[in-house]
Amino acid sequence: MGWAGYLLKRVAFAAVSIFAIVTFDFFLFRLMPGNPIQILYRSPALSPAQITSLKSQFGLNLPLYQQYLLFIRNSFTGNFGISINYLQPVSQVLFPAILNSLVLLIPANILAILLGVFAGRYAAWKRGGAADGIITGSSMALFSIPTFWLGGILILVAIFTGTLPVSGMYTLGAAYPSPLARFSDLLSHLILPLITLTLVLFGQYAVIMRNSLIDVLSEDYIIFARSKGARDAYVMRKHAMPNASLPMISIIAVNLGNTFAGAILTEVVFSWPGIGYLIYESILARDYPVLQAAFLIVAIAIVAANVCADLLYSLIDPRVRYS
């Protein structure tokens, strides 16, 4: 199979996956007990006629298959409907939240990958030493620590020292003399959630990098390279790292998609108004249109990241294409 054929196959498989996920999600949300009108509008002031009217305004009175067909048809045109909770087009609610999430997720992922790769590499190189113990131990600890606990500790420190804001993206009510001041304000609000998310992600990258590299360093070709007199740095860079990076590509690709959903706890702890926070609120309110659109975006992100990983794999290791 040639490159184009392989690419086509992966993209087709991705499209089918997204369609299946979206269909599954559509029915899954409706299987959740309770309907949004009864949850949101629980009030003795509402008559049965009003409840019926509210349901029909959001199409909740239609048979399930009709709701599904409408959702699929509208999704293709980018129309995600009206949020039941916010009474606004879903796109107006969702896209600002995605943008806010990206502000947090992009630097957190890059920092975690960089720190994880370098720490893992160093630990593998110093295997059995004090550095290895410290890096591996701290990585395992960070990987295991609940996000809300880590976030809570950082919040306590911030309150105690009175240095950094603990919630939101901006200082509300502040007058910004310049765009730089606004940018600075955003950065100061970003620090705590960024540290939390980076540390949470860092642990697994460091551990996987270390273990993968240790496996590779025991391979015959590494011993052969050393016996030829090649310098350690050269062996590491030319022979060990490229081969040890393959599992990292998988885990990074999967994580890039997952962090969209995985950032929920960080966003909730720091009241960061991203997609995680929005999903959390929408689940409580059973806001089907927002949930459907949000999970469609998350599904696309995860599947696209996996396709990218597959393609990268096939570039790095040509055997994958033909297997």
Binding site: I106, L172, G173, P179
Partner: protein
């Protein structure tokens, strides 16, 4: 090594570039609706809000307390009802006359009344607003149902014909909106009534909307054309910041990001006591907790709960005083009616008194034929399949409710009633209760925010509230319905009081609900805020329309600022790190090359 260094520099550049691109896009692309007025920082008060945030600022479609509260600062009703003093005071109407015999009312609009855009408020605005409030989509429809007609006699006078004498219910709760602005909105489509519409930026209250950012905050600023004496803005800007939990709101209060918060848990009060930076106050609460018992004749719960004696025994077996003292640290009052004590129509003389008595509860159950078994629980001696074993649903999000339910289970256990506490999401509770009434009991809450009316909460025990998904007890009682019908056609306020008392008495005796307790609204606010009222529900609880007109705020040392040294250090630090990494990379690269 050279490649590694280059890679490091490249990654650093990517971090900065990607963060900058996205953050700059966010900085410039925030969804900020409305005017571009910059927040005045010298008297801006930021209030925290957790729980249900805003769905819309449309006073006719919002279901959230916060939406109603913000709306009450933007749009005036015809009159105000002061729940603290139980008085009716002028708002948009400067005077009124009520003819109870003819069921008519005349309202004269304040001649000084003007919208924030300079257009005078007229009778046409009032008629138009009541028309909107009476639409099927309106959450105020039942409030305005007693208004059979409303006519603008002239630009300043409105004549109302009504079916009920209880006129303050609608006159105090229906906001009047500007016809000349709202009429331009396409009212035929529901989405037109969202919160980003320009129609929300014109009001006649002490404040007007200035910003709304979904899921983040809402800001109101003082209306330069506010006209109502005694209700002028106390601070220039008010920001309502949304939090998803009490703990994150408390963190922000401690950090100084917000200046006020109502709804503090009793266990968290100690965080602020003996701290001169904060003031802690308690106000009468509006949220009360109850134990709803499934008495629906067609319900699928345990049938023994339809036995009145069993319900009476339960009422006697629960030690409410102890639970209130333990769970709420003494910050809760035991309740005996479905109306709160601050409600104008609350009846404090209901009989019989369900005093805590394990012995009497045991006696009642034995008399009803439920004998104690070897398992320690009771069952019907003549029908052993009828066991006093129940499940109570509790919202899992409220830890105090769960704790209270567990203590009730302990109390009931002492009289041979087994109660299993099941904490569920409200969605699961709703699905269990309606439409099949598959639950035995639920411990839940209501907010009694229509303090001048018995209709809202007493109306919940009507059969039509079963289909609406509001009546969790499924109570059906013909006598109750008959008294209710009389209440709707009452010809005097004293008759309303009398009939409301009768309805409360029926509920008290039939026990579809065992009212539990009403926690005080605990508020913590910055000591720089002064003149904060003790209105029922708390100053920042979402019910006090006077909060921001009465308060004053000393801004010394509290000015919200984005340009603190910390933030500049942060930016400087990031830039320094990038420069350092780049420089180190170049140096190492050169050294390697030279080697």
């Amino acid at each position: 090594m050279k490649n590694t260094v280059v890679l490091a520099v490249l990654f650093s550049a990517i971090i900065v570039a990607s963060s900058s691109v996205v953050t700059v896009a966010t900085v410039s692309g925030q969804q900020v609706a409305g005017s571009s007025a910059t927040a005045s920082s010298n008297s801006t008060v930021t209030v925290g809000w957790f729980g249900t945030s805003i769905n819309t600022l449309n006073p006719y479609t919002t279901y959230s307390a916060l939406g109603r509260w913000i709306g009450s600062n933007i749009y005036l009703p015809l009159v105000y009802y002061d729940a603290a003093n139980r008085t009716v005071t002028p708002a948009l109407a400067s005077s009124w006359s009520i003819n109870f015999a003819n069921h008519t009312a005349l309202f004269t609009i304040n001649p000084k009344a003007v919208w924030s855009d300079g257009v005078p408020v007229t009778a046409q605005d009032v008629v138009y607003s009541y028309k909107l409030a009476s639409q099927n989509y309106s959450v105020l429809e039942q409030y305005v149902s007693p208004v059979s007609s409303m006519v603008a006699l002239n630009p300043h006078t409105v004549e109302v014909t009504m079916t009920s004498v209880l006129w303050t219910t609608w006159a105090a709760y229906v906001a009047v909106v500007p016809y000349h602005v709202w009429d331009k909105v396409n009212a035929s489509t529901y989405p037109a009534y969202n919160t980003t519409g320009s129609q929300y930026f014109v009001g006649d209250g002490p404040y007007v909307l200035s910003k709304y950012v979904v899921n983040q905050y809402t800001e109101i600023q003082k209306n330069p054309r506010a006209f109502l004496a005694g209700h002028m803005p106390g601070v220039s800007n008010v920001i309502f910041q949304f939090f998803n939990s009490e703990s994150s709101a408390i963190s922000s209060l401690q950090a100084g990001s917000i200046q006020g918060l109502t709804g503090i848990l009793p266990s968290d009060v100690s965080l602020f006591q003996n701290n001169s930076k904060f003031t802690v106050t308690t106000s009468p609460g509006l949220e009360y907790f109850y134990l709803a018992i499934n008495v629906n004749p067609q319900g699928n719960g345990n049938p023994t709960l339809r036995n009145l004696t069993v319900r009476q025994a339960m009422a006697h077996a629960i030690n409410l005083t102890y639970i209130a003292k333990t769970v709420y640290h003494g910050n809760a009052q035991v309740l005996d009616s479905v109306l709160t004590p601050t409600n104008q129509y609350y009846d404090g003389n209901l009989t019989p008194a369900y005093n805590y008595s394990v012995a009497y509860a045991n006696k009642l159950l034995t008399q009803a034929g439920f004998q104690m078994t070897s398992s320690g629980y009771r069952e019907n001696a003549s029908n052993t399949s009828q066991k006093l074993s129940y499940t109570v649903l509790v919202p899992s999000g409220d830890t105090l409710e769960v704790e209270a339910a567990n203590m009730i289970a302990q109390n009931l256990s002492a009289v041979g009633i087994k109660l299993t506490v099941t904490a569920e999401t409200t969605g699961t509770m709703v699905a269990t209760i309606w439409p099949h009434y598959s639950q035995d009991m639920d411990l839940w809450d209501w907010f009694d925010y229509t303090q001048n009316s018995p209709y809202r909460l007493l109306g919940m025990f009507l059969p039509n509230q079963i289909a609406a998904g509001n009546s969790d007890s499924g109570f059906v009682n013909s006598t109750y319905q008959q008294v209710w019908n009389k209440l709707e056609n009452a010809t005097s306020l004293s008759q309303v009081t009398n009939l409301s008392d009768q309805l409360q008495q029926i509920l008290h005796q039939q026990l579809p609900y065992i009212p539990l307790f009403i926690p005080s609204a605990i508020t913590v606010y910055s000591s720089q805020i002064g003149n904060v009222s003790a209105y029922p529900g708390g100053p920042f609880g979402g019910y006090d329309y006077l909060t921001f007109t009465q308060m004053h705020y000393s801004t010394a040392g509290s000015k919200p600022s984005s340009s603190s040294n910390t933030t500049y250090y942060v930016v400087g630090g990031v830039i320094a790190v990038v420069v350092f990494v780049a420089a180190a990379g170049v140096l190492v690269s050169r050294r390697r090359r030279n080697n």
